[in-house]
């Protein structure tokens, strides 16, 4: 086959692949739009049963934001710190391999199990009750192994030669980690933390076990207020028999997606600015 013919063929294959990608993206987008339309229609039907007319989302939205902040405050420093220790400092002994595999398995434990642990440890053991703080601690603990796993992957992708070159210039381990390795891995670490955080904020199961309130009369203003969040509120409303509540649940789902998008946007902005700082 001559060179131009081969290039034409490559061109055709590429065009097909691009079309295929477009179709796939279109189907996904259409499904999402349909979901949104269904939810909006349901929400638009409006509350028509007594109590549901007075049911609002302010408390749930505030609770979700509180949980996001608490989870990040716990999981990011602990998780990234542990990942740096495991990848950059700890000698690769048998104990290291054991610890690494335990942490990897913890990242795969279902959230419900963390809920039970949180109930025993934070709600009852530490006497925090079913509060925002207890929920944030539980989600934080649940998120730590995921942050560790994602951050370790980002650190491991930094080429060894970068560390060698920095060490050979007379830098200490910590100078190399802080000035070069963390900077090179920053984008991957922020991305990994975002993914873990977004999943934690969307979780309902562990909070339901701890005892999230489905009926609150005021929005939480401090971590000691009763635990409430959007996912648990949606769950509570879908379980009610009255006619107005499915509509409320649908409306809350749209709000949840919106809040998640907002959190995602904030994290994306952090990532973008980090990316620029690197260059």
């Amino acid at each position: 086959m001559s060179a131009p013919a081969r290039s034409r063929e490559t061109h055709r294959v590429r065009r097909w692949l691009r079309a295929l990608g477009g179709v796939a993206a279109g189907i996904t987008l259409a499904a999402l739009c349909m979901l949104a339309v269904v939810m909006l229609l349901n929400a638009g039907r409006g509350p028509d049963a007594g109590i549901s007319a007075h049911s609002g989302l302010l408390a749930a939205v505030a609770g979700t934001l509180w949980l996001a902040i608490l989870t990040a405050a716990i999981a990011v420093p602990v998780g990234v710190g542990a990942a740096v220790y495991l990848e950059e400092y700890a000698p690769r002994t048998r104990a290291w391999r054991f610890l690494a595999s335990v942490l990897a398995n913890l990242a795969g434990v279902p959230p419900v199990v963390y809920g039970i642990a949180g109930l025993a440890l934070f709600v009852r053991g530490m006497g925090l009750g079913p509060s925002i703080l207890a929920g944030g601690l539980t989600l934080g603990v649940l998120t730590v192994p995921r942050v560790i796993a994602n951050s370790r992957r980002a650190l491991a992708s930094v080429p060894e030669s970068l560390r060698w070159n920095a060490l050979a210039l007379g830098a200490t381990r910590w100078q190399v980690v802080r000035e070069q390795v963390l900077r090179a891995a920053a984008a991957g670490i922020v991305k990994g933390c975002s993914a873990a955080l977004v999943r934690a904020v969307g979780a309902a199961a562990p909070l339901l076990i701890i005892g999230a309130a489905s009926f609150t009369t005021f929005a939480p203003v401090s971590p000691s207020d009763p635990l409430t969040s959007l996912p648990t509120q949606i769950f509570a409303w879908t379980a009610r028999p009255q006619a107005g509540f499915p509509a409320l649940a649908a409306g809350a789902s749209v709000t949840l997606l919106f809040v998640m998008a907002l959190i995602g946007l904030v994290l994306w902005d952090i990532r973008r600015r980090h990316g620029e700082a690197r260059r």
């Binding site: 690769r92 030669s161 070159n165 060490l167 050979a168 210039l169 007379g170 830098a171 100078q175």
Partner: protein, 263 residues
């Protein structure tokens, strides 16, 4: 024949060699990279290390500035001395060792940021508070990267050509004013024209530094070095004045290697 060409045995008798290894054996896990290597690097000389791929050239260079110990599973026997002092004694700070015995790697990773950021890293690491720009300028001039002026400082390291990158990595090391310069494969991955220019740079640096370099290209060893060491499967088979080693090698394997007949 100049004093430089007389070889290590006689030179070693009059002055303490700047670097010396005695019975050096280096292992990485089960694999032995160097076996019982003894060598002396006299001050002011340029020494080349030649030998087939995997013969331990890089390992020998790395053991001179304690860079093997950062590889998990490495172990070492034997003594290395730097100006007469044991390189591994408790009083020796590995960071200080690496500043005094600078190394330019074959895989010279660029740090994120500008050329200035790259040069400033090592200086800041040692707590340098003086004129970082002045030191960086001097180092870049010495490495032949100042021809276009101060603009180079703000250039992103990633935008440099392969030759400029190699020069920047040499400048990064020179900025710390080392006593000894270790260079691993000075001109690998460069096109012939760039390779010959970088070779000229190494040649110019010979007057100011003790240089030890490893190379796969033994003609380069012939052009640049006073003394040549021939490594083969982790053993030092021959070491002496470059001219003698090239024209009249004592070990038959050295001759086979130099004439391209090594099996």
């Amino acid at each position: 024949m100049s004093a430089r060409d007389e070889g290590t045995r006689t030179a070693g008798a009059e002055a303490v060699p700047v670097l010396s290894a005695e019975g050096l054996t280096v292992r990485f896990g089960e694999r032995t990279a160097l076996t019982d290597v003894s060598i002396e690097i006299p001050r002011g000389y340029t020494v080349s290390i030649i030998g087939p791929a995997g013969s331990g050239k890089t390992t020998l260079l790395r053991s001179f500035n304690r860079m093997n110990e950062v590889i998990p599973g490495s172990s070492q026997a034997g003594t290395i001395r730097f100006a007469g002092r044991n390189l591994h004694s408790a009083a020796m700070d590995p960071a200080e060792v690496r500043r005094r015995i600078g190394m330019v790697f074959e895989d010279a990773a660029l740090f994120p940021g500008s050329v200035f950021d790259n040069l400033a890293f090592g200086l800041r690491a040692r707590g340098e508070e003086g004129d970082l720009h002045g030191i960086a300028e001097a180092a870049l001039q010495a490495a032949g990267l100042w021809s276009e002026g101060a603009e180079i400082l703000e250039t992103r390291a990633g935008d440099l050509s392969a030759e400029e990158r190699r020069r920047m990595c040499i400048a990064r090391t020179l900025a710390l004013k080392p006593d000894v310069l270790l260079v691993d494969e000075p001109t690998s991955t460069l096109d012939p024209a760039a390779a010959s220019r970088v070779e000229s740079l190494i040649h110019a640096l010979r007057d100011d530094y003790t240089i030890v370099f490893a190379t796969c290209d033994h003609t380069q060893a012939g052009r640049l070095s006073d003394l040549t060491a021939y490594l083969d499967s982790g053993r030092l088979l021959e070491y002496g004045p470059t001219q003698t080693l090239f024209t009249n090698p004592r070990n038959p394997r050295t001759e086979f290697y130099l004439t391209g007949r090594l099996q």
